[in-house]
Amino acid sequence: MRELAERLVAWGKADGADEIEVSVVEGREFSVDVRRGRIENLVEAGSRVLGLRVIKDKRTAVAGSSDLEPGTLRRLVRNAVRRAELAEPDEFAGLAPLTPSTVDAAALRLHDPEVPALDPKTMIGLALETERIALADRRITNSHGASFSSDDAAVFLANSNGFSGGFSGTYCGLGVGLQAGGTNDRVEDSWYSSKRFFRELASPEDVAKKAVERTVRQLRPRKVRTKNVPVVFDPTMTSWVMGFLFSCVAGTSVYQKASFLSEKLGERIGNPLVHVVDDALIPGELGSRPFDSDGVPCRRTVVVDKGVLRNFLCNVYAARKLRLQTTGNADGGGVSPHNFSLAPGKSTPEEIVRSVKEGLLLTRTLGHGLNSVTGDISRGAFGLWIENGEIAYPVSEITISGNLGALLQGIEMVGNDLEFLSPVAGPTIKVAGMTVAGE
């Protein structure tokens, strides 16, 4: 991979590019879906893909290919250099200067040698076992199936400023989707675990029990009248809000004025309980990385400090546009989160529910309904109605709406239950008041 990437960098320079960067990704995947005790799908495959970017006279062209024939690649590089002349000069274009890395990739624990060595029988067995445990519960009436998947991928990046480096990472995941109720009053939900290290993956029992609990608690839902009430977000829902916040603090959205937070750097955007961090250096987590796709070392960045917006997450390009420093979040042409989370607080999830006189415990949403330009949130919702600090009954066919700015100001309690199921996460939170629309 190193040889291929460096050869393309040399071709680009020879063709007249001022700057060129080349990335190569090589991966192997295995996945199995089982349903009602039988294998439904079994996949095993390998793939390679290459991407490059050339800059000539501040003009940019990019190219990508999964055809790695030398003839094809030679032509792609030549075309890109030629095509760069058709773009217009962009004073902000250009590679990152070479910065010596201080990140110890080995200490990040990104690769578990056990994952590529897993026996297909073991992986199939885990999926079957998970579904079996879930279906043994008599309240479960149908299954979307259980899946196990694993992935082992290596990335290599080289550029004409002298950067040349790579790393590999593993991933494995186990999940199950369930339905309960009859044909006309069906409810559904799912649960999963995903980790870089096989040994850290949740057991079939844990995954199945959580999926069953999340599904059956929705049975016999009621509709509620439209009202403004406190809303408790369970961790999956806080993660969803954090994903939306990420898209609003992404430097690429900010310079495009596609974020309602564009002009808010240094200002208070949430109450003092809101502390948001992006940390690529947590060992073993899904969003950890030694360097980004610009070849810049990754780091820990405080995004919101006690309610004050401190940093946007940038690649080199967005940072130049905004006159900021890159935070090492480059991913292809955009930016990606590296363990982006709302820092946990002190309350237990039970304490949070107990504090609500009447309100909604939000467990699932459906649809799109996020507008980063305005911060508006409007989604179909499912959850549990809370009365006098107790879960009273499930509710469905409602929507929640509000605005991310108001939501961050309205966070009254933060739970202690933060766990990374993806590179974006958050604990249970309670938000003062949102519109819940029903009948």
């Binding site: 495959a45 793939s47 962009d90 004025k257 507008n371 709406s401």
Partner: protein, 471 residues
């Protein structure tokens, strides 16, 4: 038909022996899907042509069916050795010995083309494409002084597929596609709003001269953003809804289309699985999916399993009449194929998918429908939606209007509509005569696979639906 260019270097005999390898463990069906796709992309932002891109995807997916089980492998190294290794990987789903009879591949030649292309956009000069992107950008940028930001882009692709299977099928298809879109942000007194418009389909660049000009795309996107600057928050609660003709078809796509995909019915996870032949909606509701509409983004000559598609009746006057089938579900359910087996690319196996889904024209005059609503909500444009098998679905309205005394009044921003499909079909009380199709820029996601689709719909009225607004 556009000329077919072979990018794979594998002979019919290579494909046949690969299929035999795939069946070596006793599978009852094997299929090879070879794909070469080339894309071009041009982006204009910050008043400059910022970037151009070219990308190439090549690979082969091989699938083996053994009863209701699927073995699948893929590779982007098309050497015969790697291709046959992938075949053996997929073969492992079955546990036995080769039991297929000898078969020969017979090439089926396609005669009619759904594409309306003089010259594929991919083969047109890049300077011409840059000019179109600039034109859309300029029309939006100078539409109004309140326009703060514009992003305009053109993406075109050409896909060459070769499909061969152990039933002896060999078919090749060429699929051109183009899409020009414009995203606009307008700003007034610190408030910002977003507008979007676009067009394209299985057409050539002449479409942007003859059917929909870049100037119109830019102006429509800008007009939507500017209008939203004065929009009010959406109302909250249940009320009558009127959907504008055209891309409100997303409602039909979410509320009905997905749940009539055969796999969800075979697995009995869809609310429709036991409702075939049963009345689920008003007499007004007749729904089709038609992959053969000329020039449309969702159309194709053969599906990704090599089946010639046909217009499929899904709901007839409120009665469930059909399902969208792929080979696996059709075999297991013993139903005829409809040509709706689609996949994102070679690295995914086909599943039943929609193509161009629409609710057929009705008898009502659109003006009469609007006039019948005293107080309600009118949907102008939609961002997209989502459905789960239980029939609960939502879709997001990016621009709407209040209806007061049968007339459109204040523009309304961001709202979500939520409902259960069976309820909505029963409340679909008026269907207009003005059937129209959406923007030709839509993409549908299912099980991690994205495919191009389009939707259509006349003006329709739903007697009651929950609007998730803030007032």
């Amino acid at each position: 038909m556009l000329p077919y260019i072979d990018h794979f270097g594998l002979s019919a005999e290579d494909l046949r022996t690969t299929l035999v390898f795939a069946l070596s463990k006793g599978g009852d069906f094997a299929e090879v899907f070879l794909e070469y796709r080339a894309y071009d992309y041009i982006l204009m932002e910050d008043d400059i042509i910022k970037e151009t891109a070219e990308s190439i995807g090549i690979g082969m997916g091989i699938r083996v069916l053994a009863g209701d089980q699927t073995g699948f492998g893929y590779t982007n190294d098309l050497s015969l050795e790697k291709v046959q290794r992938a075949a053996l990987t997929a073969a492992a789903i079955a546990k036995g010995k080769y039991r297929g009879a000898a078969f020969r591949l017979r090439e089926r030649t396609l005669r009619k083309d759904v594409a309306r292309v003089i010259r594929p956009a991919h083969a047109s000069g890049i300077a011409k494409k840059i000019a179109l992107v600039r034109e859309a950008y300029g029309a939006a940028r100078y539409f109004d002084p309140r326009i703060a930001k514009v992003k305009s882009s053109l993406q075109d692709s050409i896909q060459y597929v070769t499909i061969a299977n152990s039933e002896g099928l060999l078919v090749r298809d060429v699929r051109p596609m183009v899409r020009l879109t414009c995203v606009v942000i307008a700003e007034k007194d610190g408030r910002r709003e977003f507008g979007y418009w676009g067009g394209g389909g299985r057409v050539g660049l002449e479409y942007f001269r003859d059917v929909l000009t870049p100037g119109k795309i830019g102006a429509e996107a800008a007009a939507e953003a500017v209008l939203l600057l004065d929009a009010v928050d959406a109302p909250a609660g249940e009320m009558p809804i009127v959907l504008s003709p055209g891309h409100s078809g997303v409602l039909i796509h979410e509320a009905v289309g997905h749940l009539l995909e055969a796999d969800f019915n075979r697995k009995k996870t869809s609310v429709f699985w036991n409702k075939m032949g049963k009345k689920v909606g008003t007499d007004q509701v007749t729904i089709y999916d038609d992959p053969t509409i000329p020039a449309s983004r969702g159309s194709y000559n053969v599906d990704d399993e090599g089946t010639a598609p046909r217009r499929t009746l899904l709901i007839e006057k409120g009665v469930v009449a059909g399902l969208l089938q792929d080979k696996l579900s059709a075999r297991l359910m013993k139903r005829p194929l409809t040509g709706h087996g689609r996949r994102q690319d070679y690295s995914h196996w086909p599943v039943p998918r929609m193509a161009n889904t629409y609710i057929d024209r009705g008898e009502y005059d659109p003006a009469e429908i609007l006039a019948s609503v005293k107080k309600g909500f009118y949907v102008d444009s939609l961002q997209g939606g989502q459905v789960e098998d239980s029939g609960k679905f939502t879709f997001s309205v990016s621009l709407g209007h209040l209806i007061e005394d049968g007339k459109l009044t204040a523009p309304v921003r961001q709202a979500t509509l939520i409902g259960t499909n069976i309820d909505i079909l029963k409340r679909l009380v008026c269907v207009g005569s003005d059937l129209a199709f959406g923007l030709q820029t839509g993409t549908c996601s299912k099980e991690g696979q994205d495919v191009p689709v389009n939707d259509g719909c006349p003006t329709i009225k739903i007697s009651r639906m929950t609007v998730g607004g803030r007032r």
